[in-house]
C-alpha cells in the first residue's frame, strides 16, 4: 500500500478549501454553541442561503458577484431573525429541533421543481464565480512543494478561504474578550443570572445567532465558489453534524477550536477514506466494496462524535468545565 500517497491526500484535504469552508461555518457555530450555548442544528441552512446568495445573484439575476455576497449575508441575517424570533425564548432543545427543521425546509424548497427557475432545482446552479477567479493574481501554472501540487484557481480560493477564517478568528477573539463576549458567555453559564443583572438575554442571543449565521453563510459561499456549483443536496443536515463533530474535536468555546477541528477532521476523514480504498484495492477487506466507503466514513464520523462526547467533550483545546452543558 502506498502510505505516502494516502498521507498526501489527507494533508491536501486538511488544508484544502473545503476545510476552510467548514472552519468558517464552524466558527459561526462556535459563537452559537460554544459561547452562547445555543443549540443551532441548522447551520447548514445558513450556509445554503449564503452559497445560493452568490449563485442566484450571478447566474439568474446577472448581478456582479460582490452584490451576491451582500445578498447572501442579508439572507443569513433574515433567516437568523426568522428562526430566532420564535425559538430563542424557548428551551434550547426547541431551538435545536426548529433549526434542523428549518434547514430541511430550505433544502427541500431550494431543490423543488417549484423553485427551479430560480435555484436550478435538483441540478443547482453552476459557473457563477467567474468574477472571483478573474481576480486571481496567480498566473495559471502548477504550484508545487514536496508532494503537494496545486493549480492557480485552487491556490486562490484556498488563500481567500483561509484568509476569511483568520479574519473571523480575530473578530471572534476580539468580541469574546469584550464586554459583549462576557455577556454571551454568562448566558451560556446561567441565563437567569444574566437576566437578573438586567441584561436583555433574548436580544444578546439574537445577536449571537445573527453573527454566527453570517459566518455560516460565508462558509457556504467558500464552499460553492470552490466547486463553482451550488446544489441543494450538498447542504444536507449531515453537514451540520460534521460541523458539530469537528467543533467538539477541536474544542468548543475556544477561538482556535473550530480551525484546528476542521483541519484535523478533514485530514482524518479523507485519510481514512484513502486508506480504506487502498485496502480494498489490495484485497485486504474482501467483504467491502468501494461503494461502501462513503457510508463507512459517515458511520465512523458518527462513532467518533459519540466517543468524543462521552470521553472528551471539551475536545483538544477546550476546558472541561466549560462543556458541562446542562439543564437549559
Amino acid at each position: 500500500m502506498d502510505f505516502a500517497s494516502i498521507l498526501t491526500t489527507a494533508l491536501a484535504a486538511g488544508i484544502g478549501p473545503v476545510a476552510a469552508a467548514y472552519a468558517l461555518a464552524a466558527i459561526g457555530l462556535n459563537i452559537h454553541f460554544g459561547y452562547t450555548g445555543l443549540l443551532n442544528f441548522g447551520q447548514v441552512g445558513f450556509m445554503l442561503v449564503g452559497g445560493y446568495g452568490i449563485a442566484i445573484s450571478v447566474s439568474i439575476l446577472g448581478w456582479p458577484m460582490w452584490v451576491g455576497v451582500l445578498l447572501g449575508i442579508a439572507c443569513a441575517i433574515v433567516l437568523a431573525l426568522i428562526l430566532g424570533f420564535p425559538t430563542l425564548r424557548l428551551r434550547s432543545d426547541y431551538l435545536a429541533i426548529a433549526t434542523i427543521a428549518a434547514g430541511e425546509i430550505l433544502r427541500l424548497f431550494y431543490m423543488s421543481s417549484y423553485a427551479e427557475p430560480v435555484t436550478g432545482g435538483v441540478y443547482g446552479l453552476q459557473q457563477f464565480a467567474g468574477d472571483f477567479y478573474d481576480l486571481n493574481p496567480f498566473p495559471p501554472d502548477r504550484y508545487e512543494l514536496g508532494p503537494l501540487s496545486f493549480g492557480a484557481p485552487e491556490l486562490w480560493i484556498m488563500i481567500v478561504g483561509w484568509g476569511l477564517v483568520a479574519l473571523a478568528a480575530v473578530l471572534v477573539y476580539l468580541l469574546i474578550h469584550s464586554p459583549w463576549g462576557r455577556i454571551i458567555r454568562s448566558i451560556r453559564e446561567d441565563e437567569e443570572a444574566a437576566r437578573s443583572l438586567g441584561k436583555n438575554v433574548y436580544w444578546y442571543k439574537m445577536q449571537a445567532l445573527v453573527l454566527g449565521g453570517v459566518l455560516g453563510a460565508f462558509g457556504g459561499m467558500v464552499m460553492v465558489v470552490n466547486t463553482q456549483s451550488a446544489s441543494a443536496n450538498s447542504f444536507d443536515p449531515v453537514v451540520t453534524f460534521f460541523l458539530y463533530t469537528l467543533l467538539v474535536l477541536g474544542g468548543a468555546g475556544r477561538v482556535f477550536g473550530p480551525i484546528l477541528g476542521s483541519v484535523l477532521f478533514w485530514f482524518i476523514v479523507v485519510g481514512f477514506d484513502a486508506l480504506l480504498r487502498s485496502m480494498i484495492a489490495n484485497g485486504i477487506l474482501p467483504f467491502l466494496e468501494s461503494g461502501d466507503i462513503g457510508a463507512i466514513r459517515l458511520s465512523i464520523v458518527g462513532l467518533g462524535l459519540l466517543l468524543l462526547m462521552v470521553y472528551r467533550p471539551q475536545g483538544i483545546l477546550g476546558r472541561r468545565e466549560e462543556m458541562v452543558l446542562d439543564a437549559r
Binding site: L145, F150, G151
Partner: protein, 461 residues
Amino acid sequence: MTRRSMLARALGVLVMIVFAIMLPTASVAAQDGESVHGTIRDPGGDPVKGIAISVTQDGDEVGDTSTDADGAWQVDLPEPGNYQVEVDLATLPDGVVPKVRGGEVREVTVDEGDAQPVIFPLVKEGEQEEPGSPATEQTEQPPAPPPGETEEPTPGETGVAPAAGASFFDRFMQTLANGIQYGAVIAISAIGLSLVFGTTRLINFAHGELVTFGAVIALFFHVGGPGLPLIAAGAIAVVAGGLLGGTLERGLWRPLRNRGTGRINLFIISIGLALFLRHLILVFQGSRPESYIDFNLQKTMDFGLFVITPRDLGIVLISLAVLFAVAFMLQRTRIGTAIRAVSDNRDLASSSGINVNQVIMVVWVLGGGLAALGGVLFGLAQVVHWEMGFKLLLLMFAGIILGGLGSAYGAMVGSFVVGIVSHISTLWFPAELQNAWALLVLIIVLLFRPQGILGRKERVG
C-alpha cells in the same frame, strides 16, 4: 529565484488541490488525475447497481467498472483526451433503455486534471427518443447529482392519488384519508420518542434509526434470508427493535446517566449514534429502496368519500389498535402509572418506591418495539430505504412538539396533525414539498403555542 516560485514555495507548504472532497458526502471521485464518473438512475430516480461501463479510446479499452450500490461509477483515465464511455445494455434492468436511441455510448473530452461527469439518462422502454431531436442533442450534460446522495423516495406514492378532475371536496377527502394513514405511521413511531423524552429528558436523535432498523430487519426475514410472510417477519422486527432499544439503554444511556452527563451532551451523543447506525444500515442494506412482497398489489376499496387499498386500511387499523393499547397501558396498568409518575417527577417517583431504572428500561423496550413496528408499516406504505427513519424523525419531532413535548397523547395527536397537513398541502403545492409544510407547521406552533396542543402550560423558556 523568481518571486513567483518563492511565493509558490512558501504557500506550497500550506495549500494544495483537493478534488476529492468537494462535496461532503461525495466519496467517489477521489483520485488526482483524470477520470470520468457518474451516477446511473432508473427512470424513477433510484440508483441502479451493477451496470457495466467500459471506457475506450480509439477502440482500445482503457478501463471498465460497474455501478455500486449508489449507482455511482468511476473510471480513472491515463491522460487527457477523447474517450468513448459505453454502458453495457445487457446489464440494464428489464424494460429500461437509454433516453435516446444509441445513447448508451457517449463521447467525452477530458481536460487535464478533470473529473468529467458523464450522464446516461434512462427511460422506460417505449419512451425512447430518436437521436437528433433538439432536446437531446446536447453534448454538455447537466451535472450529476452528487454521488453518494440518493434521491428520496417520493413520499407522494403512499395512499391513492386522487383522481384528476374530481371535485375539490372529493380530492380533499382522499388526501385527508391518505394523511390519516401517514399520521398513523408517524404516531406509532413517535410514541417511543415521546416516552423516552418524558422519562429521561433525552431528545433521542437516534430514534429514526430504530424505525429504519425495524423495516430492514423485516425486509431481511421477508425478502432475503428465510422468506417468511411479512406478518411473521414484522413480528420478529418488533422484537428485535425492542431488544435494540433495551440494549442501547443498558449499554449506553444508563451508564451515561449514572455519570451525570449533561442533557445537551446526551443530545449530541445521540446524533453521533444516529449517524453511526444509519450508515451502518446503509452498508448492509445498500442505498437502493426495496419493497415488501406481501400486500404489494391490491385493488382499492371504495368507501364513497375516499378509496383505500386494504393494505393502507390495515396500516391505519393496526396503528389505531396499538395506539389505544398504549393509551390503555399508560392509563390503567401498574407499569403505565409508573411511567407517568416518572415522567411527572422523577425524584418523587423514585422516593415513592418506583424503580426508575426499571421503568426507563420498559420505556426503551416498548419504544424500540413500536418504532420497529412503525418502520415496518412505513416500509409497507412506501418503500424500505436506509434514510427513511431520519426523514420520519423530523416529522416525529414536529408531531411531538406540536402535541406537547413529553406527553404521549400529545405525540399521537400531533403526529396525526403533521401527517394530515403534509398530505393536505399537496392539494395546492407540489408533493415534493409536503414534508416541508409539515415542518413549517412546527415552527408556526412554536411561535404561538410553544407548549403544544396538549402540553402543560409550564415555563418552557
